[in-house]
Symmetry: C2
Subunit: 224 residues, 2 copies
């Protein structure tokens, strides 16, 4: 157990270092007026698809860009590039989450002040990203109807560190016998009062509300 204690100590130090970088990023984003939104979920919950559709819809009125994290491949960056907005991939190798320093490095030569929205798609993982602040203004936690209603109960920490819960792939709800009231109740039992959205990026269900939510976030925070 000695090794574990030491690991906890070192991990605490890393988290503190991460928080320092995240705070600097948040300050910078605020000064530059860019609204930064991050997405966390299991692998395959539909982050990239929701993001692609979001970028398509926003780009008509706003200057938008995205960063995407994955262990391997640049597939997601390629998918998102179809929305014809600037996209960068962060390849983490074996690291199970994004860290603020990775975001800082990826943005080093970007004029983020020229953006209205920047999206950050985390590595697919419902556990580890919870511990790492990325300097974002709004953090979404997604889970798909195919994953089941119990995800909030089984992964409470990630729900505690996110601002909005998004239930995805609502078009499959009937096929998987998804119990929406039970899912919402599970979210509320873990995090009373948590804002929840239901979407299907495939059929467009809930997308208007989601886009309005983003616009409101930007407007309220900036008084624009």
């Amino acid at each position: 157990m000695k090794g574990t204690t030491r690991l906890v100590e070192v991990r605490t130090k890393i988290l503190k270092e991460n928080d320092v970088v995240a705070r600097a990023l948040r300050q910078q984003f605020r000064e530059r007026g860019v609204c930064v939104v991050s997405l966390v979920s299991s692998p395959g919950a539909g982050k990239t698809m929701l993001l692609e559709e979001t970028l398509r819809r926003l780009r008509e009125k706003y200057r938008v860009a995205a960063l995407v994290g994955d262990l391997a491949t640049e597939n997601d960056a390629r998918r998102l590039a179809r929305a014809e907005v600037p996209v960068r991939q962060i390849v983490t190798g074996t690291v199970c989450h994004l860290e603020a320093s990775m975001v800082q490095t990826a943005l080093a030569d970007w004029a983020t002040g020229e953006l209205d929205f920047l999206f950050i798609e985390n590595v697919g993982n419902l556990v580890c990203p919870a511990s790492y602040d990325l300097g974002e203004e709004l953090r979404l936690v997604l889970f798909s109807v195919a994953e089941g209603e119990d995800k909030p109960l089984k992964y409470p920490t990630i729900f505690h560190t996110a601002d909005v819960a998004v239930i995805t792939k609502m078009d499959l709800a009937q096929a998987v016998e998804f119990d929406l009231p039970a899912a919402v109740q599970n979210i509320q039992s873990v995090r009373p009062g948590m804002e929840t959205l239901e979407v299907s990026a495939k059929t467009g269900l809930g997308m208007d509300q989601w886009i309005e939510r983003l616009e409101r976030q930007r407007r309220d925070a900036r008084h624009v």
Copy 2:
């Protein structure tokens, strides 16, 4: 980056300690003649459902039991107990994977020598469990058709450390326009020659082959 280097050092030490415990477990399982099979996947890929159906089918001929890992709740242990076999839950708190020492502790007062099969369901995570040997004889990596065909490419390490890939929720394949040949090709490109099964625990598709595969594993390893 200094903290990160130190983290890597401490992590390497923990992994070495884990390997020592895992080796002792594997030796013990072999001596006692119990076939130990572990399951890893994303949250919501269907580990518990596949396991529940597997336990139901095996218990008629074999002595079976299961350990299930989760950050929080004993829901999975309760679900698996419906199969009327001995089940224990390991609650990991914030730890994103099972470790060999957790398995050792959970089994301390179990007469595993009286079992034919022991199943270990890992925490839902496609990244972190890859690094931790649990002393199992066979490791499955599962992903559901709802997660998409690209999971092997994006999470290669977990496919490298597993023995069999299982594509789950095949009953939803049409609804999500799942491209099975592409998925199989992605598995093979990451891990040439990897054994792959397709199942639906809901409809029973592929379950007979899966049960036969388990029986063969036990027979071949033990010459019974």
